[in-house]
Amino acid sequence: MSNTLLISLAVLGILGGILAVILYFVAQKFKVEENPLIDEAEACLPGANCGGCGFAGCRALAEACVKQAAEKGNIDGLACPGTDMGKVAAVLGLTAAAFEPKIAVVRCNGSCQNSPSKVHYEGADICAFANTLYAGKGGCSKGCLGLGDCVKKCNFDALHIDEETGLPVVDPDKCVGCGVCAKTCPRGIIEVRPRGKKDRRVYVCCSNTDKGALVVKNCSVGCIGCQKCLKECPFEAIEMRGNLAYIDPAKCKACGKCAKVCPRGSIHAVNFPAPKPEAPALQGAEPVAKPQPKPEAQPVEAKTNVESENTVIA
C-alpha cells in the first residue's frame, strides 16, 4: 500500500519536475524582449487603467513614456493626472514638469432641498437618458440629474450619491482627477480643477447659463449672473459664460473674496479656515456671511463640501 503511494508520489513529482524545466526553457526562448524600464515606469502609476492620460491603460502610458524618452529625451505631454510624473521621469533619468494635483469638482448644488423636485421620475436610471427626457426633478435644465452615471464610471470608487441631497460627492482622498466622470456627465457639470495650494480651491457651484429670473424659479442657490463676484475679484479671474460666472483656475489665487459677496451662495470656497468670531454670540461652526444666504442652504453646503473639515465660506 505504501509502496504504491511512494511510487505514485515519485512518478508525479518527477513528471512535474521535468515539465517545469521544459516550461522554463520554453518561456526563456519565447520571451518577448521588453525594455525593463517599462515595468519600472508602470510601477509608479496607479494601475487603475482609467484612461485619463489618453492611453489604453497604465502600461500603455509607461510604454509611451519610455519610447518618447528614448526619442526626444523628455516626457512632455505625457501625464497621468493622478501621479507625480517626476517619479516616472526619475526612473528614466529625466526631469518632469511640476506636478499639479487635480480633483473632480461637481458644479451643482441643486440638492433636493435647494431645488425641490416638481415631478416624479420613472424612467431608466441613466443620466444620459433622463437628460433627453426632461430637464430634471427640480426643473433646472442644467442641473445634476442624480442618477449616478458618474458614480458608475469612476475607476477609483471616489464618487457616491449622497442620499439626502441627491448630488454626487467626491472623495478627495480617492479622486485622482482622471476626468472620466467629467466626460461621462451628459450636462458637463463635473469639471477637473487643480486642487490648489494647501488644497484650497474656489469655484462656482452652478452650471446654469440661463438668465437669473429662470434660475431662481427652480433653484435657491443657482448663479443669477449678477456679476458681483466679477467686480470683486482682484485678479480678474472671473469671466461670464452666458449668465453664469466662471472662475478660471489658472488665474484664481484662492483669496475667497468672491465667495463672500455672492448673494446666492453659489460660490464655494473649499478648505478655508473658519472666520474668526467677531461677536461672542456666534455659535461654533456657523459662518457669518454678508449678505446672509438662505438658512436652509447652510447645512446642505456644509454637507456637500465634505472635503473640508473647516467650514465653507458662503
Partner: protein, 331 residues
C-alpha cells in the same frame, strides 16, 4: 398641484405580467394534481405541500439574507418549481428527500445564478436529476396506484414499476403480459410512475389552456412529440418485437409533462420559433436514444437539461429577420 410623473414612452402597458403567467401555468397543472390526488391520495398532497412550501421558503431565505434584494416569492415561480418537482417524484418518496430536492432546485438551480431569468437550466429538472442520482432507489421505486374511491386497479404483479422500467428491464413481452398495454389505462393514468406524469389527459387539458391563452408556444412541444413519434415509429417498423408502438412512447413516462411544462420554460428555452423547433428536435432525439439504448428507462429530464445547455447557442444562431435587411446572397 399634483406632481406629475415623467417617464419614457410607452405610457400604457398590456395587462400581461410575469405573475399572471406563472399563475396560469399553476392553474393548468391543477387537473393533473387532482388526478394525482385521486390515484395516490394523501401521499400526493403531502409531497406537493412540502415541495412547494420548501421552494418558497428557500427562495425567501436566500432573497432576504443572502442577496438582500426585493422579495420575489410573490411572482409564483418558486411555487411553480415546487409543483413541477413534486410531479416528478414517486408518491412514496420520503419527505426529507423532497425537501433536499427542493433546496437544490431553488438554491442551486435558480438562485445561485441570480434568481428568476438568470438560470440556464430548468430548476425543477435540476432538483429531480439531483435526487435521481443521489437517491436512486427511492426515486425509482414506484408505489401502486390506489385510487381514493375504489375503481379498477391494474393487476397485482405490477407493484413498484413503471411501464418504461419494465420495458427496459424485461422487454416488450413482459409489458404485454402485465397488461400495461391497455392504451386507455395508460392515458388515464392507471399506471405506475411519478404522480404528476401519469395522466396524459389531465396534462393535455392544461396544455391546451396554456396554448389558447398564449402562455406557451406550441412549437417546442409539437416538435418534441413529433420527433419522438417519428423516431420510435421507425424503430417499431423495423422490429415490432423489440420496440413498442410510437403512440405508447408518447404517453409513457414524463414525455407529455416534460414537453408541455418543462421544455417550454421560457427562461431556458430559445426565443425564436425556428430555434424552438430545433430545441424540440434535440430533446426528442436524446429522449429516444436514452429510452431505447441508454441505461435509464426514461430520458426526458436529461434530454431537456442537455438541450437547455444549447439554448444560448441556438439563440445566437437563429435571429429574427430584421425589417429592410436583405441577407447578402452567397456567390
Amino acid at each position: 398641484m399634483n406632481k406629475y410623473t415623467i417617464s419614457g414612452s410607452p405610457h400604457v402597458h398590456s395587462p400581461e405580467n410575469t405573475r399572471k403567467i406563472m399563475y396560469r401555468v399553476l392553474l393548468a397543472l391543477l387537473p393533473a394534481l387532482l388526478v394525482a390526488i385521486y390515484y395516490f391520495g394523501w401521499d400526493a398532497i403531502k409531497l406537493t405541500i412540502v415541495s412547494v412550501g420548501t421552494c418558497i421558503l428557500v427562495e425567501w431565505l436566500i432573497q432576504k439574507f443572502l442577496i438582500k434584494g426585493p422579495l420575489t416569492i410573490n411572482d409564483g415561480s418558486a411555487a411553480l418549481t415546487g409543483l413541477l418537482l413534486a410531479f416528478n417524484v414517486p408518491a412514496n418518496l420520503p419527505i426529507w428527500m423532497a425537501i433536499v430536492g427542493s433546496i437544490v432546485a431553488i438554491g442551486i438551480g435558480k438562485m445561485a445564478f441570480g434568481g428568476l431569468g438568470k438560470n440556464p437550466f430548468n430548476p425543477a429538472l435540476v432538483g429531480r436529476v439531483f435526487m435521481l442520482v443521489s437517491f436512486p432507489t427511492a426515486m425509482t421505486t414506484w408505489p401502486p396506484v390506489h385510487p381514493l374511491f375504489g375503481g379498477k386497479v391494474v393487476p397485482d404483479a405490477v407493484v413498484g414499476a413503471t411501464p418504461l422500467g419494465i420495458l427496459k428491464e424485461q422487454g416488450v413481452q413482459k409489458l404485454e403480459e402485465l397488461h400495461q398495454m391497455q392504451f386507455l389505462d395508460m392515458v388515464l393514468g392507471n399506471r405506475g410512475g411519478a404522480f404528476g406524469e401519469i395522466c396524459a389527459i389531465a396534462l393535455l387539458l392544461g396544455a391546451i389552456y396554456l396554448i389558447a391563452r398564449k402562455v406557451i408556444d406550441i412549437a417546442t412541444p409539437l416538435s418534441i412529440l413529433l420527433t419522438v413519434f417519428v423516431f420510435t415509429g421507425i424503430c417499431y417498423l423495423i422490429d415490432p418485437t423489440q420496440y413498442i408502438a410510437p403512440w405508447y412512447h408518447l404517453v409513457y413516462g414524463g414525455l407529455i409533462l416534460g414537453a408541455f411544462f418543462m421544455a417550454t420554460d421560457m427562461v431556458t428555452s430559445p426565443m425564436t420559433t425556428k430555434g424552438k423547433i430545433l430545441f424540440g428536435f434535440g430533446i426528442g432525439v436524446i429522449t429516444v436514444v436514452i429510452r431505447l439504448w441508454g441505461a435509464y428507462p426514461e430520458g426526458v429530464s436529461f434530454a431537456i437539461l442537455i438541450m437547455n445547455a444549447f439554448t444560448p447557442l441556438i439563440n445566437k444562431a437563429f435571429k429574427p429577420q430584421v425589417f429592410g435587411v436583405v441577407k447578402p446572397s452567397k456567390k
